[in-house]
Assembly symmetry: C2
Homo-oligomer: 351 residues x 2
DNA sequence: TTGAAAGCGTTACCAG
DNA sequence: CTGGTAACGCTTTCAA
């Protein structure tokens, strides 16, 4: 079955203020004022009726381009995300949308693929005024891009990423998140706790590693660099491979803290391949929650981060800048806490 | 740590054609022609140089609102999706973006939450000309909305959903997908094959059920309505509950075909709870692939649907309409086929 | 209470 | 080759 689109499917010619004015036998400005919805405007009841009727029958809708040309604003925010497939992204998206919507702004999402081409694209769009402000939720981002952004002097907020060239960012407290995970494992009696670290070129990865070391320290456990493996986020395989390397070490760990959700799932696969039973033989804690975490086998214990709030705050900050209102907003958000499921248990070394 | 935004962080005043014209000592129209990038325009090398230099030093960027006001076009498409968290959505998004981008259009995604408020929102935006066309990738959608859409005479395409009031839709061949799944199971020797059906108010669910029955028929297997359970998409729990009901029946099945990815994962949970080993004791086939399918335990055998292509085609159709070009495009896309992993095996009843 | 006029930044159409 | 003028649809003065 094929869909045939014939030519000449004329697009509708939208009606304008002028059309409505003509139809109602009034001038354009009045129509504008009446239809702008401001209840303050003083017009005779009769005129208002005529205008409203005409607008309805012509199914008038104000033209967004004309409006923004005049207002020098689009009341639109754009959110760029690295990978819509990453399970933590939806939460951020929803947060941004909530924040934007409650302030009367629209928020659109665009996907940033690998191609460098697209990296420039959003800067251009921003500079063309297609939207008023930008939220970037991506760890992999060339520094030069951020510098261009700063130089453009357009409003933007970095989400989940810090950058020396600007303080316009909002993040979660990654170190604290890691500490929560490690503390949980230590309390279960684990001593050889491994860490699947994200790419150490990302500051979020670095902070998680830092939290891992801090908490180990706090419990008097010596740091063993052979228990830390770096892996690539973005794929489900990275965590698996890294976990295998960990298990092949001479003194393998009894527990692991994976620095993102995908890594945790990958690690799970590796553990099973090695015939380890979770949580009896081995404990696993992930960072970032996701609906899938509940339904995989075993359901994953994770540290939940305030991703929704982070998104919402990012939108709020941006809008405050746009409306030139001062604001004071916490910039580093506290983890929501541990979500205990079935992937952690007391260390066998205790028995 | 808090982020303080002081007042008076003046937004930059973008430079305009006029600024460039003044700076280069030429008229506005020439600047427009030179900067529009069309290599055909004939200008003296000297003028061109001056203009280019001025534009650069003023970091000029054309104003998108002004352009679209003039052109009556935004060269922007909007894609509305029901739930960014649903693992099949990213693939569609990428398809739409690819299709849009290759035709010089931008594509933005917006998330359609439960609130009825937001259901009207995108229609309004479309009518305001915030974007030229709309792609709707949502099964749950009130009929009245589609009717409003048709009435608005604005271009739109429905993805993965048919609707009597319009032929502007592109779908995958759900029945064929179901047949592939069932055929695979039958070939493995299964005879009591259950089906986890999506909400039967969606035509996609109906077609999958239909394909299930057709293929059973084709193999001379009697249809047993007790082997079909309806469940809710959108949550990970629905499939689990439905699968349990199936397993508690008097003559339980030996295999199941789940009508979406989430349902398959949910079913997996139920099967494990019942102590069934997959695939030795029970076979499971899902519909729609996802990167997670490879990494869960066991890796899921699924029927892969051309979601990316569906998105790309949707964008193509829309753009053809917008540019008033005739086009003929297949409207029902053939499944890409079976992706065999580890969740299906020959029926034990054979041994 | 209403309307005329100007202008937002761009492009298209003519003249020069 | 170049530039003046008009127009896109809307809002905002300012007069009437």
């Amino acid at each position: 079955m094929v869909l045939e689109i014939p030519m000449g499917k004329r697009l509708p010619i939208p009606s304008t203020l002028k059309d409505v004015a003509n139809s109602a036998n009034v001038s354009i400005p009045i129509v504008s004022r009446v239809l702008s919805g401001n209840p303050e405007v003083r017009v005779s009841a009769d005129t208002r009726q005529r205008i409203l009727k005409a607008a309805k029958s012509l199914s008038y809708h104000p033209n967004a381009s004309a409006r923004s040309l005049k207002a020098k604003r689009t009341y639109t925010l754009a959110l760029f995300v690295p990978d819509v497939g990453n399970p933590v992204i939806p939460e951020i998206i929803r947060g941004v949308e909530a924040g934007a919507q409650s302030a009367g702004y629209a928020a659109f999402v665009s996907h940033l693929d690998e191609k460098a081409v697209s990296e420039q694209r959003y800067l251009t769009w921003l500079q063309e005024g297609r939207f008023d402000g930008l939220i970037l939720a991506t760890a992999r981002l060339e520094d030069s891009i951020v510098e261009d952004l700063v130089r453009s002097r357009r409003p933007f907020v970095l989400v989940n990423r810090r950058e020396s060239s600007t303080n316009m960012h909002i993040t979660v407290d990654d170190a604290a998140g890691a500490r929560i995970a490690i503390n949980h494992l230590v309390e279960l009696g684990h001593r050889r706790i491994a860490h699947l670290a994200g790419p150490l070129m990302f500051d979020t990865s670095l902070r998680r590693l830092q939290g891992y070391r801090q908490e180990l320290d706090a419990h008097g456990i010596a740091y063993d660099s052979s228990l830390v493996q770096e892996y690539s986020w973005q794929t489900w395989e990275g965590g698996k491979v890294a976990m295998k390397r960990l298990l092949q070490g001479k003194k393998p760990p009894t527990a692991v803290f994976a620095s993102n959700f995908m890594g945790a799932v990958g690690a799970l696969g590796a553990l099973k391949e090695f015939g380890l039973k979770i949580p009896e033989d081995f404990s696993l804690v992930g960072l970032h929650d996701s609906p899938i975490a509940e339904v995989i086998d075993p359901p994953l214990t994770v540290v939940k981060m305030p991703l929704h709030e982070m998104g919402r705050r990012a939108a709020e900050i941006l809008i405050n800048i746009l409306e030139d209102r001062p604001c004071v907003i916490p910039q580093v958000l506290t983890p929501e806490g541990l979500v205990m499921r079935k992937s952690t248990a007391p260390c066998r070394c205790l028995s």
